[in-house]
């Protein structure tokens, strides 16, 4: 079966068309066109399934990809050559992403039709943005180069902005939307710089060209701003990830982004957009390695994973807990990238997308039912919302890293790789800090997720009014079906091909392998060494070359330092798995003690650590640091200062100045004439010679003798300067 552009593009075009149609005619359509969006994304899902199945069952190889290129901008004329080609690039990773995105999006769209119902004036708008967002995300996944990726990346940012600011009558929504857009934009700007840096070496930013350039050593010896260009580019690209995936220190936007409607949080701020940052880093993994910033990445991930988890401990807002848990989980993915756990990081991306989407949708279901987001006002809801509770529980188990659930499979593999990376790969033992923080974070995750569950669904209603207000949940197609489907996919078996992720049972035919491990490998730049630009083009390259087999270890999917030491990796994985199981359960147990049995009062922890607690509640003062100090005190003051200088000083004095000087001199000379000369100089004649305002007033003072004098004076000047020799 041949892939043509027309057989792939619909994935992107369906939601895009829905967007266009809804944007123009949405208001005139029945139900404001929501069916159009849902239908479109479902069609995309079907298409994605087709591609996925092709990739899984058709070839089942790591080397399989489709690359279509078409010319977007061609500035070449004569000797001046410049082209920008855009294209579609599908390999296994893309196929999986497509499936995840379309699947999650379909379900979330569906859920939205329930959740957003009755929202006056905004219902249609919501679906417009949702469609646009989905198409952008699909475009990003399909893109074959960083520029196109960047384009969709930014469009997603725009959609995120719009959806966070969806409730535009709330001032806070406005703040949150700007904060989200601007914070990610910081990362975006760096990403753009990274693209520029790469472009300056490679001549374009196609993934394959970048890999090829890396393998050919084109980056070597290039220096930018005193550091190696590779490091610079890698750092900049990773900054994109930091911004989009809400990593430290740009994590501040994501909690506020919860101002948006819950389905949009589920789709954008949990499942897809934030994961796009990780996706970018995965795509550019060879560059990260070349630029030697993997340690940096690992530490950023570790700090984020642990720090966000600590903050999540004290949140009382249901969505805020989820938001911080999202940040934390994204931190794990980033740790995965940093430590070389490529495959597991991507897997965690997918699993996280599923369970976090489900968590958010469940939260949405709860919030919609009780009309509050504050957990202290909930409690005991499991009787009123049984289906939601069940789904949410499954997801919580997954995220907490309980065995047999997807979260365990992926997170544990990341932690195992991190353990290997920190302890056994032969580098400094100091780096044990990364797995340590990872494990600590895992413990906290288990704790706070169950804290959330316990506070929400267990115990007795704390606010009877809210409880009474909540209707008993009955199965509804668009409310519960998405939850159930998503919850189903939190089972680890779908991802690992085994129950534990440790190869207990094999499901798929290609013996002894998890399908993830087979399908997803770190990009092997060596394969692209012989690649030349002409080799690609407008054709399907599937059959053209049989690439060399991958060099990495299939067993572990590990791509970091010393991947050959399979023994060590395996060893670390076993240790990691044991540790994380213990940790997960102990976390759950602690939560149980605190919030169900109440044998230990939370105050026991809070009181001695009062200031720490306060810091957590204030999210480590990042908002204060950024907004109050950096933006308000520094940036705005600086701006006001500059604006004042510009209009008040520069413009007034340097530009209008000569006129003002004239005026001032005029006044001064008048004063001089009237006061000084008249009172001090004899006779009040004003005939004293003052050079101060020679040209202006005294000169033209109407006193003819002064005129004479000036005449003579200047004349003498002329005569004396005459060069007679």
């Amino acid at each position: 079966m041949e892939y043509t552009i027309t057989s792939i593009a619909p994935i992107f075009l369906f939601p895009f068309t829905a967007f266009v149609l809804n944007a123009f005619f949405g208001r005139k359509l029945p139900r404001e066109g929501d069916w159009l969006s849902v239908g479109a994304i479902f069609m995309s899902f079907v298409w994605a399934c087709r591609i996925f199945s092709d990739f899984i069952f058709g070839k089942f190889s790591t080397d399989y990809y489709v690359h279509k290129v078409f010319n977007w901008i061609d500035l070449s004329f004569g000797e001046q050559i410049f082209k920008i080609d855009l294209g579609i690039y599908i390999d296994n990773m893309t196929a999986i992403m497509l499936l995840m995105v379309t699947g999650a999006a379909t379900l979330i769209h569906l859920f939205s039709t329930w959740y957003m119902k009755g929202d006056e004036g905004g219902y249609g708008r919501f679906f417009i943005y949702l469609s646009l967002f989905t198409s952008a995300m699909l475009g990003l996944v399909l893109a074959d180069n960083l520029l196109l990726l960047f384009i969709f990346w930014e469009i997603m940012g725009f959609c995120s902005y719009s959806l966070i600011g969806y409730y535009n009558k709330k001032e806070r929504a406005g703040y949150a939307s700007i904060k989200a857009f601007m914070t990610t934009r910081v990362g975006d700007v760096f990403l753009l710089l990274g693209i520029l840096a790469i472009w300056s070496v490679v001549g374009n930013v196609n993934y394959v060209d970048i890999y090829s350039a890396i393998s050919q050593g084109l980056f070597e010896g290039k220096v930018v701003l005193g550091i190696s260009l590779a490091t610079f580019a890698a750092f900049c690209v990773f900054m994109g990830t930091i911004g989009k995936s809400a990593q430290f220190p740009l994590q501040v936007w994501l909690p506020d982004a919860m101002m948006g409607p819950t389905p949009c949080s589920a789709l954008i701020h949990a499942a897809t957009m934030v994961a796009a940052g990780v996706y970018l880093s995965l795509r550019m993994y060879p560059l990260m390695q070349l630029g030697d910033i993997t340690h940096f990445i690992a530490y950023i991930g570790a700090i984020t994973a642990f720090g966000a988890a600590t903050i999540a401990l004290v949140q009382t807002d249901l969505k805020a807990v989820l938001a911080f848990s999202t940040i934390s989980q994204l931190g794990y993915m980033v740790i995965g990238i940093g430590v070389g756990s490529y495959n597991a990081a991507f897997m965690h991306l997918i699993t996280h997308a599923v369970f976090k989407a489900c968590l958010f949708l469940s939260a949405g279901s709860v919030i919609h039912a009780v009309h509050t987001q504050e957990m202290p006002q909930m409690g005991g809801l499991r009787k009123k919302l049984p289906i939601t509770f069940m789904c949410m529980m499954l997801c919580t188990l997954a995220i907490a890293g309980i065995p047999f659930f997807s979260g365990f499979v992926s997170k544990d593999r990341i932690l195992g790789d991190a353990l290997y990376w920190g302890l056994f790969s032969g580098q400094s033992k100091v780096h044990f800090l990364v797995p340590f923080l990872g494990f600590a974070g895992a413990f906290l995750t288990a704790f706070y997720m169950f804290r959330m569950m316990f506070l929400t669904f267990f115990g007795t209603p704390r606010d009877q009014h809210v409880y009474d207000h909540c209707h008993k949940e009955t199965f509804s197609f668009n409310r519960n079906l998405p939850l159930i489907i998503l919850a189903t996919f939190t089972l680890g078996i779908f991802f690992s091909g085994s129950l534990t992720g440790q190869g207990i049972a094999k499901v798929f035919p290609k013996g002894g392998q998890e399908w993830f491990k087979i399908l997803v490998e770190a990009p092997q730049v060596k394969k692209f060494e012989s690649y030349t630009k002409e080799g690609f083009g407008f054709s399907d390259t599937r059959a053209e070359k049989s690439w060399e087999k991958a060099h990495y270890h299939h067993q572990s999917g590990y791509a970091g330092i010393n991947p050959e030491n399979e023994e060590g990796i395996h060893h670390a994985h076993v240790e990691g798995a044991i540790a994380s199981i213990i940790i997960a359960f102990s976390g759950v147990f602690l939560a149980f003690l605190l919030y169900i049995r109440r044998t230990i009062s939370p105050d026991k922890f809070v009181n001695p650590l009062r200031c720490w607690y306060e810091a957590l509640r204030r999210k480590y003062y990042f908002d204060e640091l950024y907004i109050d100090i950096f933006i308000k005190k520094v940036l705005l003051k600086f701006n006001e200062f500059l604006a004042f200088v510009d209009m008040g000083i520069y413009d007034r004095f340097a530009i209008d100045g000569w006129e003002k000087v004239n005026r001032v001199l005029f006044k001064a000379s008048k004063w001089f004439d009237d006061v000084v000369v008249d009172s001090i100089a004899v006779d009040g004649t004003g005939t004293s010679i003052n050079i101060f305002n020679l040209i202006l007033r005294i000169v033209q003072s109407g006193k003819i003798q002064l005129y004479f004098f000036i005449l003579l004076f200047v004349l003498a000047g002329y005569v004396w300067t005459l060069d007679i020799a």
């Binding site: 005939t687 010679i689 004479f708 003579l712 004076f713 004349l715 005569v719 004396w720």
Partner: protein
């Protein structure tokens, strides 16, 4: 010898009266000193063989302009504006005040500079100083006035006519609305 004597007398007259005209307090005296200077100059003209010019000088200047000036002084009251107690170093009040002196002195100095430069070159001029025979210039001047300088001669009448009419217009006491 006559020439030398005339020259010396005229020169002394000029120097003396001109300085006096500058420093005197009284405007009327000043006019009279001007008269002396003009006479001195006509004396110099005589030493320079310029008989016609000398005579015209006396006639026009002495007979016309100075009288005009005197009339003007009389018509305007002849005040010299000196305020007491503000004179230079409290010494003899000559004609002005400190500032006017500063002013006049400065001006003179400045122009003195020009002269210094000019004269430093003029003394180097190769000028023929041989004695010439004294003869009347009236006839030649008359000829020149109706040949070479006829245009200037004729057009100066326009000037004089204009000046005449102009002075009449301005000084005419008639008041219109």
């Amino acid at each position: 010898m006559f020439i030398w004597v005339l020259f010396l007398i005229s020169a002394l007259l000029i120097l003396g009266t001109s300085v006096a005209a500058l420093v005197t307090k009284n405007i009327m005296h000043s006019c009279i000193y001007l008269l002396g200077t003009l006479l001195g100059i006509s004396g110099l003209y005589i030493t320079l063989n310029a008989d016609f010019v000398a005579v015209t000088q006396i006639m026009v200047y002495v007979g016309g302009i100075v009288i005009l000036m005197l009339f003007a002084v009389m018509l305007t009251g002849g005040k010299e504006f000196v305020s007491k107690g503000q004179q230079l170093l409290g010494l003899a009040p000559l004609m002005g005040s400190k500032s006017t002196y500063v002013f006049g002195l400065f001006g003179a100095l400045v122009f003195g500079g020009i002269f210094a430069k000019l004269i430093s070159y003029i003394v180097k001029l190769p000028i023929d100083s041989t004695e010439q025979k004294i003869q009347s210039t009236v006839e030649s001047i008359g000829k020149l006035l109706i040949t070479d300088h006829v245009l200037a001669f004729e057009l100066s009448s326009v000037l004089l006519l204009g000046a005449l009419v102009g002075s009449a217009i301005i000084a005419r006491p008639r008041r219109e609305s």
